[in-house]
Amino acid sequence: MKNQMIMKIEGISKNFGGLKALHDVSLEIENNRVVSLIGPNGAGKSTLFNTLTGYIRASAGRVFFKGEDISGAPPNIIAAKGVARSFQITRVFPALTVLENAVLGCYPQAGENPFVATLLRKRWQKEEKENSRKAMANLEVVGLAQHRDQLAESLGYAQRKLLEIARVLTTDADLILLDEPFSGIFGDTARQMMNVITSLPARGKTVCLIEHNMDIVMEISEWIYVFNFGELIASGKPKDIRTNERVIEAYLGKPA
C-alpha cells in the first residue's frame, strides 16, 4: 500500500480576528515520505501544524488521519493516535535526565496509573525495562546515548533538538511533524539530523517538516508544499518547486 495517504487536510481555514492565517488549505500527505512545508515567515506553516495537532481549533475544514476525522480533537488524543510533533522553540524537560526525557515518549504506560505505580510494581517495572530499551535505541539513533543520565538542562542547544527528536521517535507515531528541526544547528549535527530524518520512511514513518534552509529541504524532501499568506500556492517535487514561478515570486517578490 505504498500510495496510501496517511493524512488528508480538507479546506482548513483559520482566522485570528481579521487575519486569515490559513485560507482553505487542502493537501494530502503520502505514507512513508519525507515532505516539507516551506514559505516566507508568517505564511501559516506553524499555524497549520498547531491545527493538525489540536493546539489550535480550525475555523473551518477537516483533518483526517488514517481515514479518521481528528478535527477538533485535543492535542493529547491526536498524539495518542500516532501524530507526534516537535516544536519550533525546542521543548524538553530540563530537570529530567536524557533517558527520562526519551522514555516519556512511550504512551500509554501502566505505571502512570497511581494504583499500578504503588501496588503493582512488578507490572510496570517489566514494562519500564522494555520502554527504556526502546528509548535507548532512539537515543543511539540521535547520538545522545552516552548522555543518558545527564539532566537535559545540561545539554547544549543542538543536543536538546536531538533529544526532542528522540522523544518524538519513541512515541511510535506513524506521522512525525517537525517544526524547523534545523534552525540554529550546523555542520555535523545538521548532517546527523538529516540522516535521522531520511532514515525514517524505511522504519515505516512519515515525516512532515517545516524548514527554511532550502539546501536541506531540496536534499531531503520527496515532496514540497509552498505556502504564502495562509494559502497553499504550489506543491511538487523539489526540482519542480525550484523553478516554479509563483514560488520564486513569493520569496523574491514580483519583478517590477
Partner: protein, 303 residues
Amino acid sequence: MYEFILHLLIFTGIFIILAASCDLILGYAGMYQMGHGAFYAIGAYSAALIALHWHWPFYLEFLASGLFAGIVGALFAASMVRANADYFSLATFGLAVVTFTVLMTWDSVTRGPLGITGIPGINIFGLSIVTGLKFLILTALITAATIYLLYLLVHSPFGRALKAMREDEIATLASGRNTPMMKVVAYGIGTMFAGFAGNLYAHYISFIDPTTFSINISILVLCMVVIGGMGTLKGPVIGAFLLFIIPELLRFLGLPATTGGLIRQLIYGVVLVVMQAWNPRGLMGIKLPLSFTKIRPGHKEIA
C-alpha cells in the same frame, strides 16, 4: 518534659504528612497549593463527625475522612484545572479562606466557633490509643506509610509524568498525556493525605475549632515545603521538622505568650525571605560544590 516531647513528635508527624503530601501537588505536579489546610480541616471535621455520630471502626473512619478530603480536592481541581497556574493558586487560597468561613458559620454541623468537643481516642481492634507513646507510635506508622507511598509514587512513571507536566505542559500533552486529568488525580491524592493528617489531629487533640484551620496553617505548610525543598521528599520532612520544632523551643526562652506568637510569625517570614534570596531550591536542593564552581569557575574553564 517526656509528655511534651511526645506531643512535639506527634505534631511533627502530622506536619510531615501535610508537607510531604503538599509537595506532591506543589513540587512534583507544579500546582501552587496554598490551600492545603482546607483539606486538613475537612479530614479533621469528617473524622470528628463520623466518630461522634456514626461510631465506625477506626480504620473505616480513617479511610473515609481521607477519601472524603481527596474527593473534595479532586472535584475542586476539576473545576479549576482550566485556569492558568496563577489563577489556580489564587483559587486554592480562596478555598482555604472559604473553608474557614464555612466551619465558622455552618453551626448545625460544625458548631461554628464553639468547635467540636469530646472526640474519642482511637480504638483499633480493642487496643485503645488516646495519648502519649501509643499515639506517637500510631502517628509514626501512618507517617512512615505516607512517606513510603509518596516515595513509590514519585519514583514511578506516574511521578515522572507529573514532573514532565511541571517542566513543560505543552510537551507533555504532545506526548499523549491528558494533563488536566493528571492534575486532578495528583491534587486528589495530595489532599487525601492532608485528610489523613486531619483525622489524626482530631483524635489526638479531641477538640477541634475553626481557628486551627485558618489560612495560617496553609501558609505554614507551604513554607515547610518551600524551605525544605520543593520536588524532593526529604525537603518537606526536614522543613516540617524545622518549622515546627524550632518555634516550639522558643517556649523555653520564657517570653510572654503574645510575644512568642509574634516571634514565631517573624521567624517564618525571615526564614522564607532568606531562603528565597539564598537558595530558592530549598535546603534539600543545595548542591554546594556545583554552585561554587558556577560562581567561581576555575582558571582552566576561563581559558
